[in-house]
Amino acid sequence: MRLTQLRVLDFCWVGAGAFVTRILADLGAEVIKVESNAHPDNLRLSGPYKAGAERLENSGYFASRNSSKKSFALNMTNVQARKLALRLASASSIVTNNFRPGVMDKWGLGYSEIASINPSVIYLSMPMQGARGPHSQFIGFGSTIAALCGLTSLGGFPGRAPIGTGTHYPDHIPNPGHALVALLAAIYHRDRTGEGQYIELAQIESTVNILGPLVLQCSATGESPQRCGNRRLDFVPCGVFPCTLPDTWCAIEVQTDSQWRGLRTALGEPSSLSGHDLLSLAGRMARQEYIEDALKKETRRYYAPVLADLLQRHDVAAAVVNTNADVISDSQLVERQYWQTVQHSEMGELVLNVPPFCAVGEERPTLRAPPLLGEHTYQIAQELLGIGPDDYDRLTKEGVFY
C-alpha cells in the first residue's frame, strides 16, 4: 500500500497532527515538517530521552510520531520565511496544521491564500475545538480533550475518580485516524476530479464520535453511562485477573455459556465455580462479585501467559495484559513485523511501529528515521525553492533558516 506523488507541507506538531502526517510519510508521501530552533516541536523537548544524545535530537517521544518525515528549519517569525513557506505550499499537494485558529492566517498561509495560487491543494486544519464558537481559542492536550469529551468519565470504578485510559488517547487514535479518513477521501476526490478542498477537524467533535452509541444511549434514556470498571452488561465474567507474579494480569471475557464451561474445564473444574446456577448468563449476572472473587483465587495459581494459552485452548477469550516491555517482544506483533528497528544518527537504534494495517501479500513499509531538526533544509531549499549555496548561507545568517 503506497501513497505516491504526494507532497505534504506539514505544520503539525506535538500530538494528534504529527501522527496524521507520520502515517502519510510511512506510506510513501514526501512530508516536509516545518519547524525551527526558535520554536521547536514540544515533543523534541519531552522525554523519554536517549542518554548522551544531543538536546532536541534525543527524544523517543518525538521519534515515535515523526518517522519518515523530512525536516525543514524555517523560522516563521521571520517575514521572508513566510514567503518561502507560501512558495513551498504552492508546490505541495497537501498542507496540514494543528494550530489554534488564526495562526496560519496570520502568517499568510490560510486556505484561501494558498488555494488562490494552488487551487487543487488539500488543506487540513485540526483546531482543538473548531474555528468558530466561544471556545475556539481554548487550548488543550489529549488528556484534557478526553476529559471534555466524556471519555475520561467512562474509565474507572463507580465512586472513585474518573481516570479514562491513563493516556492522551484522543491524540493517538480518534483524531489522527479521523483526519486520515478525511484526507484520503479528499485525495480520492481530487484524483477523480482535480478539485482540492479545505478540511477542518475539530478535535472535540472527532473524539465525541468514538462514543457515538453511548451518546445515543444518554439521549434516549436521559442518563449518562456510569463508570463500571471492566464489567459489562452483556456477559459475565469480564475482567482482568491477577496471576502469580506481582502485577501480572490476564484479561478474560466469557461471552457465552459454552465459554463458561470451557473456563471451568480449563481450570480443572474448581468447586467454587461448579454451581449449577452459574451455567446460565442470568445466574452469573446474579453472582458477579462472587464469581470474580472465586476466579481471582484460581488465576493466581498461574503465570499469565500460561493461563491465557490454557484458556485459549478451551476457546475462551483471554490475553495477557501486555506492558510496554511485553508488546515489543510479543510473538504475534513480532511475527507480523509490527516493530521495525531504525537507525538514527544521534539516538542509535529506535524501535518504531508500522501503520496498524497492511495488504495481504505485501511487505510492511520500510520506515525511515525521524529527521534531525533542519536535516533537509538545504536539500529542500535547493530542489524546491531553487536557492543556491550563496543565498542559502545568506538566509541562514539572516535567521530565516534556523
Partner: protein
C-alpha cells in the same frame, strides 16, 4: 474564508458490502457518511450488530440497539440467506457489482471465501478486521474488546495504582480497528485508480491498540522502564485529574512545553488567597525535577486540591483558559449536550427515531470537508429495508433469494 463550492460526495458511486458484526462496523459508517453506498448484507435473523448494547427500552416493550442506530446509520440493508444456494448466488452477484467488502471474524465469512470473491471480482477491495490480524501465531485466537486492549498494551496504562488494569467503555479496540480499516480502504481506493486491482487489507485490532501507547514504547527501549498505571495520581505537579466542587477537572500545566502555563497557574492560585497558595511561588517549583518528585506531586495536589474544592468545574475551565492554561472539565456524556462550544456549533443533530417515537441527538460528523461534506445520510435501516432495490437493480431476478423476510 471563502469556501469552495460543494461538489458531489467523495465516494459517490462506490458500493460497499458490510458484513461486520461488532463495533468495527464504524468503518462502513464512515464510508457511508462520505457518500459510498454501504449495504449491510444480513442473514434472515439480522446482523449481530442489531443485538449489541447499549439499548433503549421501547415504549411498547422490547428494546433497540443504539450501537446499531449509530454504527449502521446511512447504510442499506438487504437480507440474503446465504445458507440457501440462491442466496449464495445473489451474494456473489452483489460482490461482482461492488467495490469494497468489509468483514469481521465469524461464521459468515471465512478466508477461503474472501479469496474466492476476489477472484470473482479482481477490483474488489476486501478488508478483514480481526483481533490479531490474518497471520501470526495468534491469528485464530478468541477475543473480545477487553482482551484486544490487553494484548495491545493500552490496558496496562489504565487503572488505579491499587487496582487491576482498567479499560474505558465503548469497545474502543473495535472502534479503533474500524477507523483504521476506513483509512486503509481509502488508501486502497486511491491505489486502485492506478492499478485497477483491489487489494486485500488486513487490519489487526492488537496493532491498532498498540498504536496508542503514547511514550511507553520508547520508555522501554530507551530507559528499560515499565510504565505503570497511575490512575488519578499525577505524573508531575501541574498535571492530572483533580476533584472540584461539582466534579473533576483535567489539567496539563508544566509538561509538554507549557512552562508559561505553570507560571500562570501558580500566580492564579497565589492571588486567590487559597490556603498555602503563595507556597507555589517559591523557587523550588521552577525545578522540573522537584515537580516530578513525590513531595512536589503531593504538595501540589494538596494546594491545588484545596483551590479546586471551593470552585466549580465550569469556573475553573473558563478562568483557567482565560489564563492560557490547558484545563478542562471532566464531563459526563450528558454534560456534552450543554457544552457551550458544541451547542454553539450545533454539533448534536436531532434525528427522529421511529422505534422510540421521538428525536434522538446524534453527534455530527468528525470532520468538515468543504467540497465533499460528510454527513449522516439516513437513520440505520430496518432489516431488509432495501431488498426491493436489489430486484430493481437487476441484481436478483428471484425475490425469494432475498431471505425469509421477503419471500
Amino acid at each position: 474564508m471563502t469556501m469552495s463550492e460543494v461538489s458531489a460526495s467523495a465516494l459517490q458511486g462506490q458500493r460497499v458490502l458490510d458484513l461486520t458484526v461488532n463495533y468495527a462496523a464504524y468503518a462502513g459508517r464512515l464510508l457511508a457518511d462520505l457518500g459510498a453506498e454501504v449495504t449491510r448484507v444480513e442473514p434472515p435473523e439480522g446482523s449481530a450488530v442489531r443485538r449489541l448494547g447499549p439499548f433503549a427500552t421501547l415504549p411498547g416493550g422490547g428494546r433497540i440497539s443504539l450501537a446499531h442506530a449509530f454504527l449502521d446509520a446511512g447504510k442499506h440493508s438487504v437480507v440474503v440467506d446465504r445458507r440457501e444456494s440462491q442466496g449464495q448466488e445473489l451474494f456473489r452477484n452483489l460482490v461482482r457489482h461492488s467495490d469494497v467488502l468489509i468483514h469481521t471474524p465469524g461464521p459468515e465469512v471465512d478466508l477461503a471465501l474472501v479469496e474466492e470473491l476476489r477472484t470473482l471480482n479482481p477490483r474488489l477491495i476486501a478488508a478483514s478486521i480481526t483481533p490479531y490480524g490474518l497471520t501470526g501465531p495468534r491469528a485464530s485466537f478468541a477475543a473480545g474488546d477487553l482482551t484486544v486492549l490487553a494484548a495491545g498494551g493500552l490496558l496496562s496504562l489504565g487503572g488505579y495504582q491499587d487496582s487491576e488494569p482498567l479499560a474505558v467503555q465503548g469497545e474502543q479496540a473495535q472502534v479503533a480497528s474500524g477507523i483504521f480499516a476506513a483509512v486503509a480502504i481509502l488508501a486502497a481506493l486511491c491505489e486502485r485508480q492506478r492499478s485497477a486491482v483491489g487489494m486485500w487489507i488486513d487490519v489487526s485490532g492488537q496493532e491498532c491498540v498498540a498504536f496508542a501507547l503514547e511514550d511507553a514504547v520508547p520508555e522501554w527501549y530507551l530507559s528499560q522502564r515499565i510504565r505503570r498505571r497511575l490512575g488519578d495520581a499525577s505524573r508531575e505537579a501541574g498535571t492530572g485529574v483533580f476533584k472540584c466542587q461539582n466534579g473533576h477537572v483535567s489539567l496539563v500545566a508544566g509538561r509538554l512545553g507549557t512552562a508559561k502555563a505553570f507560571a500562570a497557574l501558580t500566580r492564579w492560585i497565589a492571588q486567590s488567597e487559597a490556603p498555602e497558595g503563595t507556597e507555589l511561588l517559591m523557587p523550588r517549583w521552577g525545578d522540573i525535577e522537584f515537580r516530578r518528585s513525590p513531595e512536589g506531586i503531593a504538595d501540589f495536589g494538596r494546594i491545588f486540591g484545596a483551590f479546586c474544592r471551593s470552585r466549580t468545574k465550569e469556573h475553573l475551565y473558563t478562568e483557567g483558559q482565560a489564563r492560557q492554561i490547558a484545563i478542562a472539565p471532566v464531563n459526563t456524556i450528558g454534560e456534552l449536550f450543554s457544552d457551550p462550544q458544541l451547542v454553539s456549533n450545533k454539533f448534536f443533530r436531532p434525528v427522529f427515531d421511529h422505534g422510540i417515537g421521538r428525536e434522538l441527538l446524534y453527534p455530527g460528523p468528525p470532520y468538515q470537508l468543504s467540497r465533499t461534506p460528510a454527513r449522516m445520510r439516513a437513520t440505520a435501516p430496518t432489516l431488509g429495508q432495501h431488498n426491493s432495490d436489489l430486484v430493481g437493480n437487476g441484481l436478483s431476478t428471484c425475490a425469494h433469494a432475498l431471505g425469509d423476510k421477503n419471500s
